[in-house]
Amino acid sequence: MTDSTTLIKKGDDNKQNDNIVVEMIHLKKSFENNHVLQDINLVVNKGENVVILGQSGTGKSVLIKCIVGLVEIDDGKLILFGQDISLLKNTELVQIYRKIGFLFQSAALYDSMSVRENLEFPLKRQQRNLKKEEMDLLVKEALHDVGLEKAIDLSPSELSGGMRKRVGLARTLILKPEIMLYDEPTTGLDPITSKEISNLILEVQKKYNTSSIIITHDIECAKLIANRVIVIKDGVCAAEGSYADLEKSTDPWIRSFFE
């Protein structure tokens, strides 16, 4: 009896761990005297869209940059796909990072390259012996997914803000990421384009079955895509819950985000 129950329990545990793709435990990060992240604890489950809210300069970008290794953490644990990254060798780390896509706030398109070359860049870097036809197919597929096939031969300077975000997203999707990190995907866009981008994020989640962390100030976007919302304040996760829960919060500071 006891044996079987513990077995079941163990099975449950494993299942739970498989479900978690990102986990942060007491994560800390400072820049000299600027203690940006003081004690971050959060979990992202497989297939989930987690929205992060917080004032400018609270370290939201720093938080997701930690996940891809652009910012080194000072203290605490970062667990990706069930593996503590501080225990991994460089080659293993590269494999993990390859499963994570990052859409930068400014889209970060390479100015010196055309849209096609922008999309080919990550492909060429990861799979150095890819054939030209295969690459062409992948580029067209990724652009199709964001509805921008016609822009393939344009240069980034010829694109509007919304198009840049789409191309940036296509460049990330081309590598079929399992986790997507979006840094303010709709900031600086008009309301209609913002809505389109938010819908696109939902489509991407369905098609590629990604788990996502989305930083945003756009409450419409949050409402549309969030399975869960986390509010960051003073370097810690100050509140967490579904959109509806937080909207009803009695804390005036939290409610201020939803007005």
Partner: protein, 261 residues
């Protein structure tokens, strides 16, 4: 009063040494990364082409004009001493030893050094450098190493080109008031030039190119966030690289004269 001026000069000194320290660290990192594979050969070729090709017209025109003007300006003085026949030799030596390398390097600093500074700074501001890093690419290797190498390799070639056009300019300058055949002119020039004039002058341009590449890259790669950082990176790259050209030139002259004794 005394106290505040002391702390000001303290902080200026501190800044200066911090800057020297971080440029040295940056240069050291360059040498570490340049040897480690993978080598970004495609990007190196592309950058070398861009760097050389972009500055070619400007350097050609300047080289030619300098040769021409120098000849016209020197003639009266030499004529006073009845030494007009020395004109080709004198101009050739000044162009090849000093004026060609330094003027070309200064133009190169203005065009290529500021270009590298502005490009890398804007890539930094718009997170393109971060994007590269998450695409399995070492941005230092891909951006900095290739640009520094191409500046180092292309400047000496450009200087040789500028020297050649300077000599052509000088030939035309001589023929404005005289009649010297091209054969006679160039045989005079080559007779007057020694190994010791040419080789050290070319070697120092390698250092000029390296300094310009490193300073432009350093200023761009470490620029502050924000768009004003881009202009500032371009500007300080030129100022600082030009200053370095003169400092290296001074050191090179000392070393060359030591070696000749």
């Amino acid at each position: 009063m005394e106290n505040s001026s002391k702390t000001i000069s303290d902080s200026v000194l501190r800044k200066f040494f911090l800057e020297v320290y971080s440029i040295s660290a940056f240069t050291l990192r360059f040498f570490k990364e340049v040897l480690k594979p993978p080598y970004e050969l495609n990007e190196l070729l592309k950058q070398s082409f861009l760097v050389g090709y972009k500055s070619l017209p400007l350097i050609a025109i300047t080289g030619f004009i300098i040769g021409l003007v120098l000849t016209i300006q020197s003639r009266p003085t030499l004529a006073k001493f009845g030494a007009e026949s020395w004109l080709p030799a004198m101009v050739a030596v000044s162009i090849i030893r000093e004026i060609g390398p330094v003027i070309t390097a200064l133009i190169f600093a203005g065009k290529v050094g500021s270009g590298i500074g502005a490009e890398l700074a804007s890539m930094k501001v718009t997170e393109q450098i971060d994007a590269m890093q998450v695409s399995d690419t070492n941005p230092f290797k891909y951006l900095v190493v290739t640009r520094v190498l191409s500046a180092t390799l292309m400047l000496p070639l450009l200087v040789i080109f500028a020297d050649a056009l300077g000599l052509c300019g000088s030939y035309i300058g001589i023929n404005i008031k005289g009649d010297v055949s091209a054969y006679l002119y160039f045989s005079q020039v080559f007779q007057s030039l020694e190994f010791n004039d040419v080789i050290p002058a070319i070697i120092k341009t390698v250092f000029f190119g390296f300094a310009i590449g490193i300073i432009g890259s350093y200023k761009g790669y470490n620029s502050n966030k924000g768009t004003e950082g881009v202009g500032k990176a371009a500007n300080t790259s030129v100022v600082f690289a030009s200053l370095m050209v003169f400092i290296i030139d001074m050191i090179a002259v000392q070393i060359a004269s030591l070696l000749q004794n």
